[in-house]
Amino acid sequence: MAAARKKHAVEFRGIEKCPTGIAGLDQITYGGLPRGRPALICGGAGCGKTLLALEFIVRGATQYNEPGVFISFEEMSDELAANVRSLGFDLDDLVKRKRLAMDFVRVERSEIEETGDYDLEGLFVRINHAIDSVKAKRVVLDTIESLFSGLSNTAILRAELRRLFRWLKDKGVTAVITGERGDGLLTRQGIEEYVSDCVIVLDHRIQDQLSTRRLRVVKYRGSAHGTNEYPFIIDEHGISVLPVTSLGLDHPASTARISSGVARLDTMLGGRGFYRGSSILTSGTAGTGKTSLACSFARATCARGERCLYFAFEESPAQIMRNVSSIGIDLAPHVARGLLKFHASRPTLYGLERHLAVMHRQIEQFRPAVVIIDPVTTLMAAGVANDVRSMLLRLMDYLKSQEITAFMVSLTHAGSALEQSEAEISSLIDTWLFLRDIETGGERNRGLYVLKSRGMAHSNQIREFVLGKRGIELLDVYLGPSGVLTGSARVAQEIKEAAAMKSAARAVQRRQKELLSKRKALTAQMAALQAEIDAQAEAGEALLLDDRATDDQNAVERQAMAASRKADRPDSRPPVTRARP
């Protein structure tokens, strides 16, 4: 904090700042109010301007060693006194220790007769005396405009106020002047024209039946400042202004990884789970197991011996614990050991800013390693979407700066576009898990996939998300012609595949047998043919022998015939010879 202030002081060297100590206000004014000059805080009745001024004084006296003077022109109301007491600021003690001087200036018109020229030197004397008595560096003039109702000569009053503010500047005190908002003017008497260095407007309005206090820096001469309207809250710790974005985007980034509590999910997230200090969003339609996943993560956190803070906005802690015990997640021992803390409240119980403040406080007190918000979407009922976004942004900034892992659950309405309800916060999310119903074969089953996960090689596959007796399991899904198969369709597919494999094996066997018998048949055929060949060869041999025998016989008979006819050439015709095969 101190370092941040120093940095801003360097950045905006032009003007010296006087830190208010009010959370958030110093951020949007880059360090505080202009030192040594008057600043005007104006707004309607009950907008918190007196409290802001008082807190400026008290924090100056207690935190910055700058004693203060509080000059009130109105009766100190009981409510304010009670407020201040509950802030833990003991005004009486500060007065006793000479850190604070208070003076109540009362002007009763009916008691006063004006008889000629006068000035407000008496007021100067009183303020001066108060400043000197505690060596004050800060001065508050609470609703100095009350003077206008007590004194009738406005010409004198205006001249004297101008002189007063100049005099305060010369004294070198940082002054805060409060003013009631007027018609068309920032203040009823237009004193903003005398206080030109810094003007802050407070506002308290009702939007959608939700009351929101807002603060805006209208003007800050010589300094940059946030120009938006910033919501602020008043609670038992004083005022906190909620800048839409914290100015620094320089929170540390841890490379340590933590398990999600589901081994298979860790595998999907690059094998090692979430980054520590990252923000995780789990969104899904109703009944997809978001809370179970959150509880699984909570259990894993507590099992590591780290603290986990669970903000429940829909179910009571007992109900959550009973429900997740049915899937084997027993959180009761972790609650008993003080590692797990539930904080349950209705989102509509109070406004968004207060929710944020309460959460801050809880986180500061419990110092958890993991914060679970279940669900973040119901908070949207407590505020306008834009406000919710800025609130979450601020919360996440805070968590990141503390290296706290944020696990948020978000309910997506069936039928709406996937990103619709989370559009406001998706850019703030590091890891986004999506749970959805997969409807096939007359069944609804749960599917999980990683929509995005910054800084890690994550799986792009859908896993079936099964809530069993032993907790959460992630299973592969089957891709069929009709999409992914889950549940009993997946089981059926498994059986079908096993059967197909068996029958394929049988077919191979059968074919092998067939081939074998065919080979045998062919071999037998070959043997038969050979036998036939042999038989034929034998037959041919026999034929040749017969033929020769016949030739010899013929020759003998021919010679015998020739001899009988007395032929001179007994062997004119050669005998027929047959070639052997």
């Binding site: 008691e111 008889t115 000629g116 020229d117 006068y118 000035d119 008496g122 004397v125 005396h129 004194l151």
Partner: protein
């Protein structure tokens, strides 16, 4: 702040010590022309209307700033009628004699 031509004593009491019936206190801050005019005017009115029964106390807030709180002094000069009761406050240099008399209840409201 120019030095005054005449120095008002402090606390300034009137010549008649027994006149405690009217107890008037005039708050000023230093010896400014305005405070001197106021004192002169007051003295004159008292002499005319309250002779012998008044007492004027001049309080210089430059010297006793802590006294401003008690009587809720804001504008200067301020004349406070402490006695008779109720307490009345008259601010300004008392140059409007009519209004001073009304303020002191020496004359009914016009």
């Amino acid at each position: 702040m120019s030095p005054p031509p005449r120095k008002p004593a402090k606390p300034k009491t009137s010549e008649e010590p027994g006149g405690a019936e009217w107890n008037l206190r005039l708050y000023v801050a230093g010896r400014t022309p305005k405070s001197i005019i106021a004192f002169t005017n007051l003295k004159k009115i008292c002499e005319e209307h309250l002779q012998g029964k008044y007492r004027i106390e001049v309080v210089d807030l430059m010297e006793h700033p802590q006294l401003a709180k008690g009587d809720q002094i804001l504008a200067l000069p301020t004349l406070v009628r402490r006695l008779p009761e109720p307490i009345k406050k008259i601010i300004g240099d008392l140059s409007n004699t009519e209004r001073v008399l009304v303020g002191l209840d020496l004359r009914p409201q016009p």
